[in-house]
C-alpha cells in the first residue's frame, strides 16, 4: 500500500531543518495553497473537456476534434477566450457584492475540494469533524449565488438566485442525511478515518440496503446541489437567460462556470469517499492473489477512477433527463427524499445497533 505521508513528512522535516519553525509553516501553507489551486484548475480543465466529449457521445456526435489532436486543446482555447474578455460593470448594480459573489462561490468550492482524500495521507484538511466542515463549506456557495442575483440589478438574475437558494438549501438537507447515515455506519466524522475503515470492504457493501439507498439519494441531491440538469432551474436558459450569472462576463463568469464543474467533481469525490471507499482498492474476500494485484494500483488512481466514473454517471443523468418543473423540485425533496432519507437513517442506525452489517 502506498502512503503519501512519507513524502509529505519528508518535505516537512526538510523545511524545518533549513528554516525556523514559523517560516517553515508559512512556506508549507503557501506550497499547499499553490498545489491545491493547480490541482483545482487542472481538474476543472479535465472536467470541461470530459463534459464536452461525454455530452457529444450521448448525442451521437464526436465533440471537439479540431483544436489540437482529438480536440485536446479546445479547453485551453476556451479559457484563453474567457481571459481576454472584458469584465463589464453594470449600471446601478451593487458593485462590491457584484464583484464579491464569484469569489465566494469559488472559495466555497475550493474549501470543499481540499477536504477530499486523494490518497492515504494526501489530503489537505483532515480533522475530527471533517464531515461537518465539508457540509458547512459546501453550503456557503449558495451565498455567493444569492449575492450574484441580488446585486446584478436584473430580474432574471434575481429569480434564478432565489430558485437556486430554495433548491440548494433544501437539497442540502438530503445530503446531510445521507452523510449522517454513513457517519452512523462508520462511527467517525474524520474523513481519513472513514476511508481507513473501508479497507476491508467499501461502505456500499458493508451497509448493504440502507447504504445503497443513501447512495442513490446522495447522487440525486448532489446533482441538485451543483445546479446541473435536470436541476438547472437557477440558470434555465429558456426561461431566465442564464439565471444568476446573466450579467457576468469574462473571468467573473468563468469563476461560476469553473465552480459549477468543480462542484460536480466534489460531489462525485465525496460520494466515492463515503460510499465507494475513496482510495481503498477493491478486495474480494478469499481471492488473495487478486487482492495483491489490486494493491499495486496506487490509491490515487482508485480514487480518481471511482470519482470519474461517478462524474460520468452524473453526466449521463444530465444528458438524459429533462428539467424539472419549478414546483416539482421542492416536492421531490420534501415529500420524497427527506422522508426516505430519515427512514433510511433510522434503518441504518438499527442495523448498526443490531450489528447487521458486514
Amino acid at each position: 500500500m502506498y502512503n503519501f505521508e512519507i513524502i509529505t513528512s519528508a518535505i516537512d522535516h526538510f523545511l524545518h531543518s533549513v528554516m525556523p519553525a514559523q517560516l517553515a509553516v508559512i512556506t508549507e501553507c503557501v506550497l499547499i495553497a499553490v498545489c491545491t489551486l493547480v490541482a483545482y484548475v487542472a481538474f476543472a480543465i479535465v472536467m470541461i473537456f470530459m463534459e464536452r466529449k461525454v455530452c457529444a457521445a450521448f448525442q451521437c456526435r464526436l465533440g471537439p476534434t479540431r483544436v489540437g489532436f482529438w480536440g485536446l486543446l479546445q479547453v485551453f482555447a476556451d479559457v484563453f477566450k474567457m481571459l481576454i474578455k472584458e469584465i463589464i460593470s453594470i449600471n446601478n448594480s451593487d458593485s462590491l457584492l457584484y464583484r464579491l459573489a464569484p469569489y465566494l462561490v469559488v472559495l466555497s468550492s475550493i474549501l470543499t475540494f481540499s477536504c477530499l482524500p486523494f490518497d492515504k495521507g494526501l489530503q489537505v484538511l483532515d480533522f475530527n469533524v471533517g464531515v461537518f466542515f465539508l457540509m458547512a463549506a459546501s453550503s456557503f456557495g449558495v451565498l455567493g449565488i444569492l449575492l450574484a442575483g441580488w446585486s446584478s440589478n436584473n430580474k432574471f438574475s434575481m429569480i434564478g438566485a432565489m430558485r437556486s437558494g430554495a433548491q440548494m438549501i433544501s437539497y442540502e438537507l438530503s445530503i446531510g442525511l445521507c452523510m449522517l447515515t454513513m457517519v452512523v455506519l462508520s462511527g467517525t466524522m474524520q474523513i481519513s478515518e472513514i476511508v481507513e475503515q473501508q479497507v476491508d470492504g467499501w461502505f456500499i457493501f458493508k451497509g448493504h440496503l440502507p447504504a445503497v439507498v443513501a447512495f442513490i439519494i446522495y447522487l440525486i441531491a448532489g446533482n441538485a446541489e451543483t445546479n446541473r440538469a435536470p436541476f438547472d432551474l437557477p440558470e434555465a436558459e429558456s426561461e431566465l437567460t442564464a439565471g444568476y450569472h446573466t450579467e457576468y462576463s469574462g473571468m467573473h463568469f468563468g469563476f461560476f462556470y469553473v465552480a459549477e464543474f468543480m462542484n460536480l467533481f466534489i460531489v462525485a469525490g465525496i460520494a466515492s469517499t463515503l460510499f465507494l471507499g475513496g482510495w481503498t482498492p477493491l478486495y474480494i474476500k478469499g481471492f488473495d492473489s487478486f487482492n495483491a494485484i489490486m494493491d499495486y494500483i496506487p490509491g490515487i488512481v482508485w480514487f480518481l477512477g471511482k470519482t470519474f466514473f461517478l462524474i460520468w454517471v452524473l453526466m449521463w443523468f444530465r444528458w438524459t433527463f429533462p428539467r424539472l418543473r419549478v414546483d416539482h423540485v421542492p416536492t421531490l425533496e420534501w415529500k420524497y427524499m427527506v422522508p426516505i432519507g430519515l427512514v433510511n437513517l433510522l434503518i441504518m442506525t438499527i442495523c448498526v445497533v443490531m450489528n447487521w452489517i458486514f
Binding site: 457529444a56 457521445a57 450521448f58 448525442q59 451521437c60 456526435r61 464526436l62 476534434t65 449521463w316 443523468f317 444528458w319 438524459t320 433527463f321 420524497y336
Partner: protein, 148 residues
C-alpha cells in the same frame, strides 16, 4: 386510485421510466457517431441525391439543351434569380423567325433553393444537383451562365 398514483407506486413508476430513459441514452452513447469530418472525408462523402445545392441544365441524349426559352422559370422565381436572355434566329426550312435561348443567367447568391423554377419548367430543362462546394471570394463569381 391506480397503483401508479400512490406514494410507493409513484416512486416505482418514476424509477422505471427514468431507467428507460437512461437505457436509451446509454445505447446512444455506444452507437457509432454520425458526425461527418468534412474536409477529411471528401472522398467518401455521401450527399443525398435530392440535395439542392446548384442549379444546372441537364442535356438530352443528343447533347442538346432542352430549354425552349419560354421564360416560365424566370417568372416563377420569387427572387429574380434567373434571367433568361433570348434571341431570334431564322429557321432554315420554313424561313420563319424563332425565339431561342441566348444566355441563361443564374445568381447563386440570391437563390433560396425553393425549387419553384424546376417545378415550373415544362421541358425539365433545369434541375438541382448536389455539388455543394460553392464558396468563392467574390460575389460576382456567383452569377453563373448555365447554358454552354
Amino acid at each position: 386510485m391506480k397503483f401508479s398514483e400512490t406514494y410507493i407506486g409513484g416512486i416505482l413508476f418514476a424509477s422505471a421510466s427514468l431507467l428507460t430513459g437512461l437505457r436509451t441514452t446509454l445505447k446512444e452513447f455506444f452507437t457509432p457517431k454520425v458526425t461527418e469530418q468534412y474536409p477529411e472525408n471528401r472522398a467518401t462523402l455521401k450527399i443525398s441525391e435530392r440535395h439542392r445545392a446548384m442549379l444546372y441544365m441537364p442535356l438530352d441524349e443528343n447533347g442538346n439543351n432542352k430549354c425552349i426559352a419560354c421564360g416560365l422559370c424566370q417568372s416563377a422565381c420569387p427572387n429574380s434569380t434567373i434571367i433568361v436572355k433570348t434571341k431570334n434566329i431564322v429557321d432554315e426550312e420554313s424561313g420563319k423567325s424563332k425565339k431561342v435561348l441566348d444566355e441563361y443567367i443564374y445568381d447563386l447568391g440570391s437563390c433560396m433553393f425553393c425549387q419553384l423554377c424546376v417545378n415550373a419548367c415544362p421541358k425539365d430543362a433545369i434541375a438541382f444537383n448536389n455539388q455543394f462546394e460553392n464558396a468563392v471570394f467574390d460575389r460576382k463569381k456567383l452569377v453563373i451562365r448555365l447554358n454552354k
